[in-house]
Amino acid sequence: MRLEIGNFPVREVRFGETTAYSNGILTINKEEALKVVMEDEHITEADLVIACPGDPVRIVPVKEAIEPRVKVSGGTMFPGVTNELVPVGWGRTHALKGVDVLVVGKHWGGFQDGLIDMSGPGAKHTFYSSLKHICLVADTDEEFERYEQQKKNHALRWAGHRLAEYIATCVKDLEPETLEVYELPPITQRSPEVNALPGVVYVMQLDSQMEEDGYNALVYGWDSNHMLPTFMHPNEVLDGAIVSGSFMPCSSKFSTYCHQNNPTIKRLYQEHGKTINFLGVIMSNLNVNLEEKTRSALFVAQIAKSLGAVGAIVAEEGYGNPDVDFIKCIVALEEAGIKTVGITNECTGRDGRSQPLVALDERADALVTTGNVSELIELPPMPIVIGELEALARDGLSGGWEGCVRPDGSIIMENNAMFCGDTICGFSRKRMAEF
């Protein structure tokens, strides 16, 4: 399968008469763009606001990030979610780079939402302070969940996906500045040289612990709670087959942008044919009860073994209870004779002294960790707030609490509420150390 991603680097975003891209300048016709947003009658009000790295801006409650992209050939964007259910990961996709559509609640947040500081001491806590954001700041009439701590954020997230595609449509017929090619032939049709290299799989454990539909990560529109682990081509992940969920505490989350740009997949691609034979992605999930956890681990190990993998990377989109799924999966792979490295974050408490993972096993002897969900972060006031700062304290964000937003606008919070703060997909330069 061959996927071409044509890159259009965005050096500046502005509003103007027509939505267009020229010489690195992305111009958006706000009125037209908001029409796309308002196609969903549940959206009651919406605005677009631009925020750039270095701006004195704090954004909260952030619900989702999407890279603006359009399919030029081969499939649709977000199949089974906002578009027809057809296979993706092939053909040509055009992408606006260095920029995202950021979905922000105008007022209301929830357990799964996060915060981004675009400058100051808070900026180092998330990769997302380094992107230019086209913030969709909106509210809905989804009264059933307005005061709920856990929100599906359906209208807003889907509006973000539509908006991202609308914006990117302006580069559909243009010539990209650079072209990335992702091509992996079928496993049985690779050269003897490649086949001689150690076969490696990338196991993704998606956020899927809500029993009710509407909260979990989607695989081609299918709720990942209702699936058994399955084999996927990495191009499908990079090309919009996975849409982020709306449940996991925010720092542990993979946004849709994280999936579209998954740096671990990209690095495995770089190694393919040189040091490894990149077999593909085993798409797994994080479950509620023990038998489901065991069953998923068993399926992952079986698929990996059947594919002839000798190495695996397991990435956990979550922490706490899902650590059990994570460790079980690593142990199952190791027991199948597959050398495994895990990537996750830790929960060592505010004092740093708590057990870092809920489940431990000596066979998980190779782990990369990207943050402490309960790290306490104190930040000064920020001149501009996009969204509503009080949401952090009022709406049960996983890293916020009553009183954590002070009258002067300064805040104290746990990393838990930092938007994709730990980027377990692999962007994180942050790590853990013993003090």
Binding site: V200, E271, I313, G320, V341, Q355, D361, E375, M432, F435
Partner: protein
């Protein structure tokens, strides 16, 4: 100018060797023994006093020694405390750890010492809040060890950012925190590089060494259940609707106890869950699904158990750190023991 005090043993206090190891604690104004070199290495810290105590005195009459030394410090102006270096001297190392820990806890000031990795004082005290620097085997390394302690003390008093234990040179204290190396490698590269090493059979360094788990032995069975008082405890977040104790929905640090005397079951009109880590519908529909009071009452009526304890205890288990959970568990267990409860049914979600 900040004020510091150094603790040393009878040998480095120039009192004498083993024959003087019972030497009583003493405080002297100014610099004795290694204090002189320590003072030379410090910036903006004045060592005002030196405390000398025999190793045997501290070892065999610890409480008295600690009490007397804390008495010395009562009227002193003190911002930072030093002890040692103790090298491989076991009793001296334990003494340095003991007094550093005491001063750190009671006076809430930083305490710095230094020992060799083979000194038993390291394992005894490294997981407290004191700093134990990785020291040499013998007094031949005195200057190096003191320099390391002083360098760190200077950083502390000047409020400079502190690096991880391994880089500063002290024994890690089991406190894992985030660091933000701006130019450090991305996690994607770290994880693939680690895999490549593991595949090649090369040595690699995990970023999370597996901590040793604390195994709690299973309690002996209750001899006569029909006379036992059984309590219900949950981490499933069942609380009265108004959540009177304001237990957090995630990362809880608080627990509550609620009266269930006279109730046959938990009514959804009174109780609900505030737990943010699971789908609340089933629990809100029937809170007994999480706290099975209805089933336990049936057992009580049948005489299978003696009595359901009059209160149930509750907290939230999602995102709650192991440390906080253990503390809350101890607090709840203490109350249950005092109330003569014989057994607990602990439910999660």
């Amino acid at each position: 100018m900040k004020k510091g005090i150094l603790y040393i043993n009878q040998f480095f206090g120039q009192i004498g060797g083993e024959e003087m190891a019972d030497y009583e604690p003493e405080i002297r104004e100014g610099l004795v023994g290694p204090a002189t070199f320590l003072q030379q290495q410090l910036k903006d810290i004045e060592i005002t006093h030196t405390i000398i105590c025999g190793d045997n005195f501290m070892g065999s009459r610890k409480e008295e020694a600690v009490q007397r030394i804390m008495g010395f410090l009562q009227d002193k102006e003190i911002d930072i405390f030093f002890a040692g270096p103790a090298f491989r001297a076991g009793r001296y190392g334990v003494a340095c750890g003991t007094i550093c820990h005491e001063v750190n806890q009671k006076l809430n000031i930083p305490a710095i010492t230094s020992m060799n990795e083979e000194n038993p004082g390291v394992e005894m005290f490294r997981y407290t809040d004191i700093y134990i620097f990785k020291g040499g085997k013998s007094a031949a390394q005195m200057k190096e060890d003191i320099k390391a302690m002083a360098r760190f003390a200077n950083k502390l008093v000047h409020g400079e950012p502190l690096l991880p234990a391994a880089e500063e040179g002290y024994f890690g204290r089991g406190k894992r925190h985030e660091i933000y190396p701006e130019d450090g490698p991305m996690a994607a590269d770290r994880v693939v590089d680690m895999l490549l090493k593991k595949l090649r059979g090369e040595p690699f360094q995990t970023e999370l060494p597996m901590p040793k788990t604390e195994r709690i032995p299973i309690a002996p069975p209750i001899k006569d259940l029909s006379r036992a008082t059984i309590a219900l405890v949950t981490s499933g977040g069942i609380v009265p609707h108004e959540n009177p104790d304001r237990i957090q929905s995630a990362s809880a640090t608080r627990w509550g106890k609620y009266d269930i005397a006279g109730m046959d079951s938990l009514s959804p009109e009174i109780f609900k869950t505030i737990h943010a880590g699971y789908d609340p519908n089933a629990a809100n529909e029937d809170p007994n699904r999480v706290v099975p009071l209805d089933a336990l009452r049936a057992y009580e009526k049948e005489g299978k158990i003696g009595k359901v304890y009059d209160y149930f205890y509750t907290t939230v288990g999602t995102g709650t750190t192991q440390g906080e959970a253990a503390r809350m568990g101890r607090e709840i267990a203490r109350e249950l023991l005092e109330a003569g409860v014989d057994g607990v049914i602990l439910t999660s979600t």
